[in-house]
Amino acid sequence: MNPPLAALVPCVPFAAAIALGLIGDRRLGGRRIGVWVNLAAAGATFLAALAFALEPPASSALLLADPLARHFALLAGFVGLTASCAEFGQAEPPDLAHALGQGFLGAVLAALMSNSLVVTIAAAEAACLALAAAAALPRTQAAIRAAWTGTVTAGLAGGLALFGVILLALAALPAAGAPALTAPALTWSALPQAVAAGQGGLLGLGFVFALVGAAAMAMLAPLHLWRSGREDAAPLMTTPLVTTLAITVILRLRQAVADTVDAALPGPAVLALGLLAVLIAALALGRQQEARRFVAVATVGQAGLVAVAIGLGTSAAVFAGVLHLTLATLLLTALLSPARTAGSGVTVAAGLVALAGLPPFGLFSGIVLIAAAAAHAAPLLLAPLGAGLGLSAWAMLARLPALRAPGAATSRTAPRAAGWARTGWARTGIIVPWLHLALTALLGLAMPIPLLRWFATIAGSLG
């Protein structure tokens, strides 16, 4: 695949977003045209992401094609496709939801595949803003409030992260008689070399700003206090992808400055944020009544667990972190599926059992691998980590019978939704979450050797 073709991966959803915005509510044979366009665009994006992952072009100043970028671009493309399939089975998705969903997917892919730090941060903020706009779609007072908070949070997170990038760039400039940095020097692939001779104090400051910005996007505690409630507000199944994206930014930052900043800063700072997120999510889970909000809090905990692995920083920990992030993304998106059929209650229950880290679902393997990496690198960490994980699992299983399914049909929409649920189209919506659940079981418990090598390559490239 050559670089211009790789540009198709984010450009297809962007183009689809514009087309869907223009098409609006136009119908053909009773069905919205936008539903078909959404599905076709998601299919094309997935195929382009698959080609990018399997036949990567060389990285350039703008394009990043390392194993991590390829892996998560493929995951985002896959989740985008399955989300479109699930939305295809939805009776009446909100106006503009498809356009914003495609815009969000395009921004996530652009951020994941961009080699420029500035473009990555700008695209990540654009993804957060698309989610904020989607949160406003129900047009209720609460929805507008959630969208406003989401926009403010996006501005704050993006601003702080870009502050960090500028400080990293300044630190990378030679101290005296500096010529300009060239664009390729401020890329993810060249960042470790660029900062190797940089000024330690300024690097540390830049890292802290960038970490706080990315952590706010990932909703890591205590920055989850600024959280927009995007999981429970935005009607998009792909919402957890923004947390996945922010965590990859943290992973890249941590690995880039690991050897140049004072060793006491990057790893322990990420680890502390992660541990705090695990503990706070564990305490908050027991109080949640509604499944969508429950998923939002669970996302904080899962992001925290991956951050713990990133903070540990060893090859084994990074392997476990990337695997766990992949599995958690699949699970959390499955739980946000818009399916409203007779089986959706069972699906939610199975998803929550998986999220609790119980076998046969793959999160169990991710947790065991992260705990093993922690036991090897920092045995004392096992006590608070184990307490947090145990409390989370207990809260998930204890709250299971009391949870209301996400977005249960209201009395006004119930008759139409009930009629729709009997049609063949609706079945696509229920298949998708089970496909995600099956994949997490396969990846966690019976991972094929080529996939094992794939994850090992990712961890090796970051080690």
Binding site: T151, V152, G155, A175
Partner: protein, 207 residues
């Protein structure tokens, strides 16, 4: 002769931006907030224009022009129209001058004692940039008033511009990071989708 004359302007504009940032967190009336935000944007654009002009960096000059046109002119005018039309109530000050002074002190302590970019950016000017950004973050995170939150977004953007120097690639994209949410917030306020009186202080309009 242009270089020696223009060079001292950057720290002067930087000081004006910092004072405007401190004024921002203490003002309660909408007009005062908007005015302080506009002054800060003009000062930040001035710093970027001087640095970009002296360093021959077209991207930085472009960033200065974007900041001036959007943060310094278009958004203040739009905000003035909206707040006059909808009679916005005064907002509560997020922490006052004391908290602002603490943040400025923290910024000064956090910046290591070195000049960067070959002396184009001194320790003091970097500390000013970080302080302006932190004051914006304080308004964003600590305020419930939509008007103050919008001012916080703009202040954070102005801080980014103050930290920019020639030679940092793609810096012209910097203003867009703050401008995109600002435009959305402004649009929501203009459409009446948010309550401008949220977080308002009861009683007197204040300073």
């Amino acid at each position: 002769m242009a270089v020696p004359l223009a060079q001292p302007l950057a720290p002067l504009f930087g000081s004006v931006a910092l004072i405007a940032g401190l004024v921002l967190i203490t003002r309660r009336r909408a007009g005062a907030l908007i005015g302080a935000g506009a002054v800060q944007a003009w000062a930040a654009a001035g710093v970027a224009a001087v640095r970009g002009g002296l360093g021959g960096d077209a991207g930085l000059v472009a960033a200065a022009l974007i900041t001036l046109a959007a943060n310094g002119v278009a958004i203040p005018i739009a905000l003035t129209i909206i707040t006059r039309r909808r009679d916005a109530a005064p907002v509560s000050a997020p922490g006052g001058m004391g908290l602002g002074a603490v943040l400025v002190g923290l910024a000064a302590l956090a910046v290591p004692g070195v000049a960067v970019a070959g002396g184009a950016l001194t320790r003091e000017s970097l500390a000013v940039a970080i302080a302006v950004g932190l004051l914006g973050a304080l308004m964003l995170a600590g305020q419930r008033s939509p008007l103050a939150q919008l001012a916080g977004v703009l202040s954070l953007g102005n801080g980014l511009i103050l930290a920019a120097t020639p030679g940092v690639p793609l810096i012209a994209m910097g203003p867009l990071v703050a401008l995109a949410p600002a435009a959305l917030l402004l649009g929501a306020m203009g459409l009446g989708a948010v309550d401008l009186d949220a977080g308002a202080t009861p009683g007197s309009p204040g300073p």
